[in-house]
Symmetry: C2
Subunit: 345 residues, 2 copies
DNA sequence: ATGAAAGCGCTAACAG
DNA sequence: CTGTTAGCGCTTTCAT
């Protein structure tokens, strides 16, 4: 239970939060503040009996160390910042969840920043993040704005970019190749005997690279030009449904669609079902992400599986190792992907 | 562009991060540190020309204020902690997104904590949060553990509980009544002429209250006892599908199901479709949450709509007002809900 | 194994 | 409007 700090008569001219401090604990235990600090941070440096006395005092006072003060004094905030484009129904949440879990177990806290807000806010997001002096920064996707890169580089804070591969990462990287995915999905579809491939994609740089490689591979296989429907920023079931409509107008003969997200693909499946288009007979559909629910849809969606949890875990390890001065075993990891074949192909 | 701190010959015995500090900026601008501080925090207190000089120095040095130091000195961290049970495919993400957005615009940062991890970790989560001295805490759901309540109360940090109503909130509250929902959905279904109601629910306290009220209202209307299928912790399409199977074994005559989440409901719809059960002819289905994609499913899901974004926004406002010493207009708000009728009823 | 001193980088108080 | 002084609560450094 909390108690007000004893009203000592020492000269005190400043406020303060009024909470129990290490000083209070130390006084109660009859030791110097630094000793109490050691009990909490490096107990092996303190004799057992002193240790116990301090622990008792902590218990009695309900003391919770002020990490802002600790961070300021040690230049180690034990804070990790994560930047995510969007959280709602996003394929990234599994990554964030495992990132957070791994960090928490190692004694780190997660700060969340959303980049999907206007580009002008990206600047202030970076400022806000750097201002907290996090021990590491987790980026969803790679940073392209040169300004942002420079700023992060200048801050000296360890950075891990994820969900992508780039020849010139800012620092560390845990991702996979979007081009490889585009190529492999095209090969996969061609191998299934599909001849008129199409892509339905959101306006997203990584989706663009998948689309690009997808189209190139189709062409290399001697197929007709891949039709592409761009749905803009929205990646919903609804836009997937509409996109299929548009696609069928452009090319009624299309026999396979690769979508840039599972949600879009679900929309395509839905629309095809409504129109009585046989899946996979007349139309094959491949999604991207393998979010939890698409495996249980009927028909179950064939999609590109990304191990998002692995990305979060590995990125966390990179960041933690760096923060604690350890050598990072592999600062550049390709987690790969797999094409999961289910009912729609 | 960053530059190393000038190697001054003043007595310096301690390290430091090596970053630019307010002192550096002030020196460059030829003013006292506090003046530079004022330019950044209360510019109206500083003359225009001095202001400009300092701003120039900030620009030149690429100075980013250390918020840990600022927070420590002012006892205001400008940090808000949010506790969420789960992030993956969760109905709460819209709330978190708007919470985060509103906070960010007001100059606050969001720290994310996950409570879904084991109960033993709940204790350390709270410790970790309080240790950061956030200016406010956002709770998804209400806190029931007495220990946790006491601890939060003792910390003196403003707390807002959400997504629920309780007669005895820790502090502030932005939510809605789960009992009301259960009752209203039952009435709604009865009004539609349904006579054999059932519930498929996850093992979750709030879902329990909806189920309870749902059953009571059904009984009040003279219907047969409501059959309840509990799916445990999982709230996936798959468990929804399985649950409908189990439900039909228990009561093949059931004509309406209220599910404790949209995902579960989607599973029920899917399974019904597979079994050739006519929706809504033979079976009516109601979900909960109105997550983005259920409106575009076929058939579109009837569900209970909760304005998650509103909850986030309002909770943020409560917390910010409190943090800034303002009176909170309405510390207890009921955002209500609405039953959205679509194709499944 | 324990402690004294000196800050980390910033801002509240109180001048002037 | 600007500055001086004294910390916020903790940990590093250097002694003992």
């Amino acid at each position: 239970m909390p108690q007000t700090k004893e009203s000592d008569n020492t000269r005190r001219s400043r406020r303060g939060s009024g909470a129990i401090t290490l000083r209070d604990v130390a006084k109660l235990a009859g030791v110097a503040p630094i000793t109490a600090s050691r009990v909490l941070n490096t107990p092996e440096q303190v004799s057992v009996d002193v240790r116990q006395k301090v622990l008792d005092a902590v218990q009695k006072t309900g003391y919770v160390p002020n990490r802002m003060a600790g961070g300021l004094a040690s230049s180690r905030s034990r804070l990790i910042a994560a930047v995510v484009p969007s959280t709602v129904m996003s394929v990234f949440m599994e990554t964030i969840e495992s990132l957070n879990g791994t960090l928490f177990d190692a004694g780190y806290q997660l700060m969340l920043g959303q980049s999907s807000y206007s580009a002008s806010r990206e600047e202030s997001l970076l400022e806000a993040i750097i201002g907290r002096r996090p021990d590491g920064i987790f980026l969803t996707g790679v940073l392209h704005s040169g300004k942002g890169r420079t700023r992060l580089l200048a801050s000296g804070i360890p950075v891990v970019e994820t969900w992508d591969l780039t020849p010139a990462p800012i620092d560390m990287l845990v991702g996979f190749s979007h081009s490889d995915i585009g190529r492999e999905v095209a090969k996969f579809l061609v191998g299934k005997g599909r001849r008129r491939l199409a892509m339905i994609r959101a306006d997203d740089e990584r989706a663009g690279r998948r689309a690009q490689a997808f189209a190139v591979e189709a062409e290399r296989s001697g197929l007709a030009k891949v039709q592409v429907v761009d749905v803009g920023a929205s990646r919903t079931i609804k836009s997937g449904r509409e996109a299929l409509g548009r696609l069928l107008e452009i090319d009624p003969e299309v026999d396979a669609v690769f979508c840039s997200s599972d949600l879009l693909a679900s929309g395509v499946v839905t629309e095809a079902r409504v129109r009585g288009i046989d899946i996979p007979g007349r139309l094959a559909i491949v999604g991207f992400g393998d979010v939890p629910f698409v495996a249980d849809m009927v028909p179950a969606l064939s999609t590109v599986h990304i191990n998002g949890a692995d990305i979060g875990r590995m990125a966390a390890r990179c960041l933690i190792d760096r923060a604690e001065g350890r050598e990072v075993a592999s600062p550049l990891v390709d987690v790969g992907f797999s094409i999961v074949e289910r009912d729609t192909t």
